[in-house]
Symmetry: C2
Subunit: 506 residues, 2 copies
Amino acid sequence: MAEPAPARALGDLSPSEFAAAGHALIDWIARYLDEIDRYPVLSRAAPGDVRAALPAAPPDGPGSFAGLLQEFERSILPGVTHWNHPGFFAYFAISGSAPGILAELLTAALNVNGMLWRTSPAATELEQLVLDWLRQLLGLQSAWSGIICDTASIATMLALAAAREAHPGLAIRQRGLAGRPEIPPLRVYTSGQAHSSVDKAAIALGLGHDNVVHVDVDDAWRLRPDALAEAIARDRASGLLPTAVVATVGTTGTSSIDPVPAIAEICEREKVWLHVDGSYGGIAAVVPELRPVLAGVDRADSLVVNPHKWLFTPIDCSAFYCRRPDALRRAFALVPDYLATTPADDVVNYMDYGVQLGRRFRALKLWAVIRVFGATGLAARIRYHCELARELARWIDQTPEWHRVAPVPFSLVCFRYAPPGLEPAEVDACNAAILERVNASGRAYLSHTKLANRYVLRLAIGNIRTERRHVQEAWDLLRTAAAAVAAERRSPDQTPATRRSARSSA
Amino acid sequence: MAEPAPARALGDLSPSEFAAAGHALIDWIARYLDEIDRYPVLSRAAPGDVRAALPAAPPDGPGSFAGLLQEFERSILPGVTHWNHPGFFAYFAISGSAPGILAELLTAALNVNGMLWRTSPAATELEQLVLDWLRQLLGLQSAWSGIICDTASIATMLALAAAREAHPGLAIRQRGLAGRPEIPPLRVYTSGQAHSSVDKAAIALGLGHDNVVHVDVDDAWRLRPDALAEAIARDRASGLLPTAVVATVGTTGTSSIDPVPAIAEICEREKVWLHVDGSYGGIAAVVPELRPVLAGVDRADSLVVNPHKWLFTPIDCSAFYCRRPDALRRAFALVPDYLATTPADDVVNYMDYGVQLGRRFRALKLWAVIRVFGATGLAARIRYHCELARELARWIDQTPEWHRVAPVPFSLVCFRYAPPGLEPAEVDACNAAILERVNASGRAYLSHTKLANRYVLRLAIGNIRTERRHVQEAWDLLRTAAAAVAAERRSPDQTPATRRSARSSA
């Protein structure tokens, strides 16, 4: 017979131990966030450092949470790149705010799996409610239904799967794509500035990378509707099957905004699914005067915006909206016996709308963020980030040898240092060296991209702790680094080998 | 010019406000977990209740965290089904332990995106380390590389994508599956007892639901290797392309264990990818005497086990292991300019091994759980769950009119109430009525499945707070419910309508 085993005799913390460990951790986090700019933003760890600092084998016996926290500080924290740092300007800068962090704690404590309405009605209903709140904040019509995905990559994959299933006569879900001579290659159109998740989705869905058509952009890096219409016409003439267009509001490279109204016009005419990737830029529509960035989106079939990118919600929380949830459900609903609930239930079972069965109670953190900040608080913060970006753009525009290479519709500034008299490859090498110096300072972390095959610096503002002085400091660091790089170039005693090595690492 | 904006003036909590709110929340959670069995395990909310209790529009101005916590308790908590409740025996019972819950708080506070090694070296290296710890705990060979996925559904999809790409001559990633007469339908084999995620993965990947072959099982619900070999031979003879087999260690319906050694033999001979779904049952191998449940798995190509299922780690944390990570990388690696890091980096960039770009620092919670429990603590808890299940199985076996319908290799017991003299459909209705009564009690929550088209009750033990008395109570509730249902059946004054309604809801 199994002996009675007291619940806490086999390893877990008692309630009082939990509370003590929890209070210590809360205090640690409060201090960490308060002192965040004392840390180097980009980790200085070398490959293998973190792993080498920890035991290679799991412990046999139990350990204390206090010991764990000490080991975390000593061995793991030095390997953390601090996305919370106000000098984090790389990729799209993000931050989890206090209400979002605490709500994640609550989510972990409740530990529900919201796969079915029944398995936690609150998880499903709060998700529906808070996504409708966000829809209202974005100024979108009420025809949209939402689902929280972990990432925009998954949301975009689901959107393209729904688009694939929107050719119902082809029965792709049932019979697949292979060995079916009646199904031509399915084509997906997006701009050359679109996120790589579009390519990954097409790869995953079996459409093939070659069937993602990267349509030309205009001189502000926006998809050209005329080029799109031509590409679709050309494909139809070749017997290919136009299936979906992905337009981007706020591209990763430059935050450019594709002309969604004109693209929607084409998609309606061609009966092609329109998915809008507003992962970063779409969020800006919570600022009333920035609502026009989503112009035309109400005519799309699906949309993704990422609260974990620019709405101060801890990663992961990606809001996926669909105007045709039936198509999404048709693509994925599949109810095994052990998950059957009574058919009379007039409820949404979110597991029917995607690949993943397990679903965290992510709605709590989005609810917490919106409820504690309020619409005006969120808008004020995003507005401030855009103001900071415009100010940096002005500083760049006013400084000789520095050039902005894209408009600044949001909070991302793309630019480079280009003193006269250098070959393009030398300018690229200078900018890579500048980036390396700035990132090595520990005070700011920027990333880069390539535009028209030229190396470009990106400074993305989106962190809740970023103030004007942090942008100012980054700008000072950039100019100081540029001066040092220029001096190195002029220095006659520098060996070519040293110069090469300084250039090759970015 | 952008005015200096104090970091906390625009909505977020100050450090002291964060600390105060955090301490209150920690205390709330400690009390909640301590008093968990005072709550009804299955929420009593009716559809729409939660949503109706909350404002339909987002707040305009800011709110306090204290107010949020009050509204949570009042309006959301009644809609929560308590997966933490020791009487939660539905699906696979899960629980997040204290170290896992606290580590999730730390993950949210750090809020790193571990897409690249560089974007937080510790996130990548701790993930590698802790997955190697888990590999050692499971007694697997060192040839496995791991990656943490959100769910086993995604892990299985990635496994099948790698299998698809393991036909390199077909260039499926590049050119897709459609419009290519040289590519026959790709076939995936699994048992009729396999998880629906296998079907969903095949659907998502464009293979088609019809190309998932559900191979026959033996009388203990295990995939029959002879039937598998026949199915593969039949498909080859028809010109179809056998691509992957998914074997299950611990099926969802009955926790049956497919004969992996014999299946691996076939897969090696046929050069077909073998993926093992050990989401639930694979974890049991951390108990030394249960290691044989993973016999043969070292010969598979990929494996998924779920720490969020039976290793006391909050959802989501699914450990996906691959013996051919190169195939997985070949299926998905795609590096846009803005994510390029120096080629010399001798590091893993996890974004190259799947669809999702954004990656939470999930390794922290698995590290915390293993470090605080230790190998022996984890094994002791899982061993205890299996003992409780065997004890319940003995009670059932010793009780007239109750019948166990599957072996109990882990902690799941499948059974039904089947008094003599009833038609099969009546027995099904009785069991559905029993389930409804037990679940309505608020003291236990069971689920059901169908085996050989008959309604079967499932009682799954896996919650860290479940003790012998909770299993005893569930067994008492079941017998009391059975007696009441039997009495209702005998009662002449019950109308057929009432009886029908009692039967139709499960």
